[in-house]
Amino acid sequence: MSEQHNDNPAPPPDAVITAQGLTKRYGKANAVDAVSFAIRKGEVFGLLGPNGAGKTTTILMMLGLTEISSGQVGVLGFNPARAPLQVKRRVGYLPDSVGFYDNLTAVENLAYTAKLMGLSLQERTERIADALRRVRLAEVAHQRVATYSRGMRQRLGLAEIIVKRAEIAILGEPTSGLDPQATIEFLELIAELKRGGTTVLLSSHLLDQVQRICDRVALFKAGRIEMMGSVAELAVQVLGAGFVVEVEAEGSGIARKLSTIPGVTKVETLSADRYRMTAERDVRPDAASAVVSVNGALKRLSVDEPSLEAIYARTFQAKREGVRHAA
């Protein structure tokens, strides 16, 4: 289940980023309002929510790029305000709409930051060539960045994180402004980072684009985390169920058999041969064997994955109505 109700849970032992009561005030307004979360090693964690929800501000506090008003944040056991270099040596950051020196080539841009990382000439040369190959920019490595598209710049930013061999990659709005093809490519690169053992923290307001690659998400609203957990967990909690599986099959006793599958919360009979199951997980394989086990003939099997958009819309719609009733 989601951790949203535990105000001060002990961070899990494998947590690499922990925030407790983290708050940022601008004047009287709280841009980030006492958020607490723990990000585990190796996971892809999404800070999700609409523009202005406080995602970027949360990230800036982790990197010491803005002062913390109250609360605490720890990154790999270091306090970013006290030991910023320790944090920044181990964390790569790709800001929203990242910028490079347009008059320099990709290699020159990376060489500059690699020098700032303290890498030797040989390390720089090897790592930069390797990183550019991995983000598929090797062919344009010696072109000025002025000629790069938005998607190429994003990938160059990722290459910088690869050069750093960062333990944690923090990505701000990595897919906004990218066309569908570039988005898919970029998400694949993030998945590769994760396979290589990097913990990924990303922020996004494009929920549907990133939901597939996030192991867990925190839904931000007006500076607070409204809910946190895996997409499936949140779906169960908010929508009653995560997955909606539709089965079309001929035979008798199918509905009863389907309802015995573990994780299925409801089975509706839509018409003579059509059933709709709501379940906590993707139960298509179990549904198929259930139909077969009662000697039915399976004609169609489809699944609607839970959508973060739906979860988000439902949550905040309910909240708003609650407020209206209270008023």
């Binding site: 970027t56 800036l60 990197l63 790029l65 803005t66 002062e67 006290r82 030991a83 910023p84 270099l85 320790q86 920044k88 040596r89 964390v91 790569g92 950051y93 790709l94 800001p95 709409s97 990242v98 910028g99 490079f100 020196y101 347009d102 500059y112 930051t113 020098k115 700032l116 990382m117 303290g118 930013g157 910088e160």
Partner: protein, 320 residues
């Protein structure tokens, strides 16, 4: 609170990058061209003037720096006017352009302190100005050799080297002012306009305003006026006010160094004249002492402006 690691980590890297940016920039090329052409014109005037007056002069080389021929200003006056322009040109977009290119957060996410970025940019700017001024200095020496045909003496070289150092500090004041404005104003155009406004005010308006303000603070005494003399209090105030401007400090220091017969700067008092033969050059060391307060003020101004910028920059939020 003690910070971990060195504040200067990455300083060299930033310095090298900024220096190569500066040197290869079109903007710097244009500014240097402007300065060189103006300098050549000023030197031409001085050489022409010197050739017509072939009187014995132990400091022929120094005359090249200070001699003016209408309508051209002297080389030193020309530098006093143009060096701020070069420094502003190097500094007005130092930090805000990193914001606007959205490179700042990416750079500051590397394991360096902001100190290294700011200091690296400042030192690279100062080095660029230093290289340009040294080139100009060599140009003066070279032209002197060619057209006056007299090899410069040791003291002349020493004095002209002091000129070089003070000119670099003078450039430093304007560079740290321009960088401060680049931190305060997010738009480079605004920063440039404000910097140029201050420059015009201090070079053109302030020399007229300062004496006027002095007369308000310390009204002239009619008894002095009757004798056609300046009231000492009014004169002191005017001098004090003028010295707020780095241009005035630079001009005074240069006068002491490059015109060896200078015994005092600003108002002349009788005690200082007593026993002194007007026109006899002072030893190098004494000229240095006269120029010292002005030089220190220029250095102090540089440091103060830099520190103000530093403090603001440290606390600035870096979203871009």
């Amino acid at each position: 609170m003690r910070r971990e690691g060195s504040a200067f980590q990455g300083l060299g890297t930033v310095f090298v990058k900024e220096l190569s940016d500066n040197i290869s920039s079109v903007r710097m090329l244009v500014l240097e061209l402007l300065v060189v052409l103006t300098a050549l014109a000023a030197l031409y005037g001085a050489i022409d003037n010197l050739r017509q007056n072939t009187a014995e002069d132990p400091f022929l080389l120094l005359r090249l720096f200070t001699l003016a021929r209408d309508p051209l200003p002297s080389f030193v006056a020309m530098l006093g006017f143009l060096v701020p322009l070069m420094a502003i040109g190097l500094g007005f977009d130092a930090i805000n352009s990193e914001h606007n290119r959205r490179t700042l957060s990416r750079i500051l996410a590397q394991p360096i302190y902001r100190d290294a970025l700011l200091m690296g940019k400042f030192l690279a700017g100062l080095a660029t100005l230093g290289v340009s001024l040294t080139a100009l200095w060599l140009m003066v020496i070279g032209l002197g050799l060619i057209f006056l045909g007299v090899p410069p003496g040791g003291e002349e070289i020493a004095r002209s080297l002091v000129f070089l150092v003070v000119a670099i500090f003078y450039a430093g004041v304007w560079l740290s002012l321009a960088m401060l404005l680049s931190i305060v104003f997010r738009s480079p155009a605004t920063a440039a306009l404000v910097a140029l406004g201050i420059w015009l005010f201090l070079t053109v308006l302030w020399p007229m305003l300062a004496p006027a303000i002095a007369q308000v603070i310390a009204p002239p005494d009619p008894r002095y006026a009757a004798l056609g003399l300046e009231t000492p209090d009014t004169g002191l105030w005017a001098q004090f006010l003028l010295r707020i401007s780095p241009n005035d400090l630079f001009a005074e220091a240069m006068q002491a160094i490059l015109s060896p017969q200078t015994r005092t700067l600003g108002a002349v008092f009788l005690e200082q004249l007593r026993g002194a033969i007007m026109g006899a050059p002072l030893p190098f060391g004494e000229s240095l002492m006269i120029a010292w307060p002005q030089t220190v003020s220029l250095i102090a101004g540089t440091i103060v402006l830099f520190v103000v910028g530093y403090v603001i920059f440290q606390r600035q939020e870096v979203r871009a």
